[in-house]
Symmetry: C2
Subunit: 423 residues, 2 copies
Amino acid sequence: MIEDTAAGVRAGLLDPVELTERALDRAREHAGCNAVTHLDAAGARPAAAAATAGPLAGIPLLVKEIIAVQGLPHTCGSRVFAGRVAGADAEVVRRAREAGAVIIGLTHSHEFAYGCTGTSNVAGPCRNPHDASRMTGGSSAGSAAAVAAGIVPVALGTDTAGSVRIPAALCGVVGAVPQRGTLSSDGVFPLARTLDRVGLLTGSVADARYVTAVLAGIDLTGDALSAPRLGVLADPDLLDCAPEVADAYRTALDRLADAGAFVVEVKPPDWRLFTETAFDLQGPEAAAVHDELDAALDDYQPDLRDRLRDAAAVPGWRYVRARSRMSALTADLGRILATVDAVLLPTVPILAPPLDATEASVSGGRRPVRDLLLRNNRPLNVTPFPALSVPLPGSGGLPVGLQLIATGDRAAFAVAEWVERSL
Amino acid sequence: MIEDTAAGVRAGLLDPVELTERALDRAREHAGCNAVTHLDAAGARPAAAAATAGPLAGIPLLVKEIIAVQGLPHTCGSRVFAGRVAGADAEVVRRAREAGAVIIGLTHSHEFAYGCTGTSNVAGPCRNPHDASRMTGGSSAGSAAAVAAGIVPVALGTDTAGSVRIPAALCGVVGAVPQRGTLSSDGVFPLARTLDRVGLLTGSVADARYVTAVLAGIDLTGDALSAPRLGVLADPDLLDCAPEVADAYRTALDRLADAGAFVVEVKPPDWRLFTETAFDLQGPEAAAVHDELDAALDDYQPDLRDRLRDAAAVPGWRYVRARSRMSALTADLGRILATVDAVLLPTVPILAPPLDATEASVSGGRRPVRDLLLRNNRPLNVTPFPALSVPLPGSGGLPVGLQLIATGDRAAFAVAEWVERSL
């Protein structure tokens, strides 16, 4: 779709200024969502007029506010950076512009991308387009909500422990986290450098694949799959979901099998060790970044204060141990991925909770919302493997996400496209 | 000297068995020093009989007990590893054997190399050959003492924060810490992997250069220097010494100038930042290693217990910050080193203290012995640069060490040989 739109612009069949005006209008219509924290109509219009060439010619784009866009605010959703303006484009933004994309503004990030609910930001919480009383998930809250609301066909996000996949699942869009290194993190305000990745929120897997290939400068086209081998992680902890999610997941697996997939159970690695390792890496790296800012704790949102305090208390030896475990954990997951085309699991085990919810129910009982949102996502970033969250149909009013993990970008996108087509 | 001895052995002019017997005899004569914690006469004799070829043909060698020697105890001087035997040679030991060296035993290490005094070991303290009531310094205590006592011409040590240079200075031998990566650390029980290096204790710079070249498989011969440019670090903190050390240092600088060196003052980098960085790297890495051992704190010597407890308390964010500072600090020191052939400073600001001393005097007052021993040594290991400690003459009964730091091994050995010759 994005590929076709850009081709239409290049051929003179579509007017890039009109595409941008339509996106700006939609952003204003959906202002109540709080997905767009800075709309740059003044910059977008002349950019659109000039955006007649390139693989993303005329495509309106929104950028998560922790990713630097020259001349636009770079507050990272925080009072700590009030008044800060980006002096240069992040590498991924530079490439998007070079490819003809038109940046129309910035999207809501959970403050400093350090939270998974999308509720903490100097601009207030981000609201789910499917139900404004519910959260979007985060931290790439606004990017997922903006795509879900139809403001733009693609938005840039980042993912350190699920920050692209979680809001993709709760907002019903595709969230793509390409493998480590595919998309540059230069110019992205860091959360935890070892785990941070740039990712995309889009309306379809094809769009995510196409834009990833453009921004990475790589070829991601491949043979269409006919009968992929899909591994279902047989871990009761990972499958402990709200009934709506469990139903949607089981239904999806049945449909995929009907469509020709070999759905097999695979023994999962020790997710608890992955989670602990990710936790021990993230806290010290985040605390080191924020120590350098010399900011007062009071300038952060209350949840960030607690999180930074906890992060600063993680002992160094646990960080060292976590780093030394990364390659073994990657090998553990790699051995499982080698037996299938992709591994499947529910992205998030619950539907989008109310904005102020701190607990939610799964079949095992009440659990903290944060733990549930992160549970199936955090482990990935300890490894370099790519993952996508693809929306599942038929779960009533609120979306459900299906997560796929594969050994490389080409396989991940190919399987995800097959899955999307088959559902 | 070692080069000549090995040539004599290869030519059949010297009997390697006789060389080994002489070393074994000397080790027994000096047993009171506690330098050799395991003498392997049974293994050394047949090895000597076969050691008629190679660049180290017939050279008796002692190995610090944290470096694995196949079939010999690998207790690291600790009750924690009581009864442990090495299953394979460390890489540096394998290369030494391959070159014809004859391993006659293991030397005293401060427990797990985690101390700079050489006083903590399940076998008791190591004693200085110049005065048995005084410490050798550490952690490569026995390797320095064994060379000083004339047991062997060369012994292997390790240096994480000064562990080769400190005992070299206090025992009056050459301590060489080649640049990071020159000598393999494979098979060496780690203290802090980022900072650990294998080094040598020898009677002369020429011997250190020769053995380093053999064990690294590199060529370290170079043009003889005539008028090196020597940088004196103009930092009052680094030069705050006991009067005997200050005198020996000043006298040495005068002699070096008389011999033709250009002795210039250079502005030192921020050693306090180096020290803090080294500390923040060492603690978490050491604590992570020892956490894996699952040992009871009571099995360690009392000073190790305190050190491990303190190390485990260093927060992760400080470790992350320290890692991120390493390259800038290396650049800081590199900029200074680029203006001279080597930088000079006293290795240790005091003479060997009594075994039970916890404080010592410098002109600035009483200071903890540990702080004084580490002060001028710890900063180096944050960088990849090589350093040597060369004994200074004329300081009464107890030795003084002069430390040289250079940008690379070839320069470091060339300057150190020129200095040794000129003194």
